[in-house]
Amino acid sequence: MRLDLNTHMLEQLNLHFISAASGRLLGGLLVTLELSAIVMVVSTFAGFAVAILVMSPFRLLRLPVRAYIEVFRCTPALVQIVWFFYCVPVLFNVFWEPFTMAVMALSLNLTAYNAEAYRAAIQSIPKLHSDASVALGLNRWHFNRYVVFPQALRLALPVLVTNTIGMIQQSALVALVAVEDLMYVTKSIASSTYRPVEIYTVAALIYFAIAFTLSRVVALIERRNRQLMERA
């Protein structure tokens, strides 16, 4: 079987309409960026807090948090998003804007993954740091804030970035619950202009650009950190 490129269609690739639709695309992109940025920032800090909680010696604290992590890591993001949108308003008698609900659902998801990354990082911090902190009169809060968190963040950074990139990709799923992000706008343009090839390709490239830029920026930060903190 030979692979026949649809050369007829390729000749008719019309990129003009993409620039015409660029306004809408930009709008969708901004929504995606805003959504991703908020979720990323929230989950970077919340992930650490959850990791501390799940390592608590108190069962009453540890077990519910453990359950939360397992639920959000063992169910598909799409199911979480859809469940959030359709079930939470009904079950808890609340109504928030779609964008807000998207932020909440994605944050709960990313925080759960980040918590596991932080947990591994925290456990690799030498116990003597805890003893030294006691000897210096630092209480538990100071110890976590000034000694554990900065180190855990640096140690967990590669995994946190991977998780965040995953979240950016999964954010496209919110298009299915009518949040007007990049994916939603792309779908809408594709169906109204009957030109899926160009528009979906552009969307894919945009998602790639976002995630790739993020991973390069973090790689630079990591390299600078290594130079400072490793044996000269």
Partner: protein, 256 residues
Amino acid sequence: MTSEFVSIHGLHKSYGDKVQVLSGIDRAFSRTDRIVVIGPSGGGKSTLLRCVMGLEQIDAGQICLEGEAYVRVANRRTVIDRAVQRRIGMVFQHYTLFPHLTVRKNLVLAPVKAHGFAPSKANSDAERLLARFGLTDKLDVYPAQLSGGQKQRVAIARALMLEPKLMLFDEVTSALDPELVSEVESMIAELADGGMPMMIVTHDMTFARNIATQVLFCAGGVIAEAGSPEQIFSDPQQPRTRDFLRKMRSDEGFRT
């Protein structure tokens, strides 16, 4: 009768039911004392020091500083008086400095964030301390760029920032290359000359003999023998002490 500065009463500690780490320690020291604890691995000497710092749960007994009982047992739980604990500083064998902070930030972190020092006072204290010990050019450097000996000296300076009444040194030179040991021991000796009361756990018998006012030989969770350095090193009474010292001497002879 010497006035009691630090006193330990009936200290017992075990891990679970089986392992007795400290079986009844009773000891008192004066303000002018420098206590060196020596002994075999697992004999309880580091645990003893850690108990004095208030880092360990104990089963029975109490520890007092300047007459105040700051480590004691109540309702089967160890109670530590943090206010008294703050008067004690401790330096450990490794992983001493926080690697993500410069030397300066390592030194000022606790004073500024936890003890309410003004940043300007903390910074000038840090500069003064490092200048005193010849480490001024290391102020804005990260720990990774320091040698082992420099790290330990900075760690001692960090503990001194809080103006402790008592300093504890837990085998601070044991993990160092031999040529770096003396710079750290000199710094401790200088502190001693300045009148700082201290408790030291060390494997360096020469250093122990030179700096101690009292030597405790700790083995099997008890203080098997105690006395002045002359007594312990020249004329040990107990067979266990003799065996230990003989072994240490042959090791040191081999190394030099």
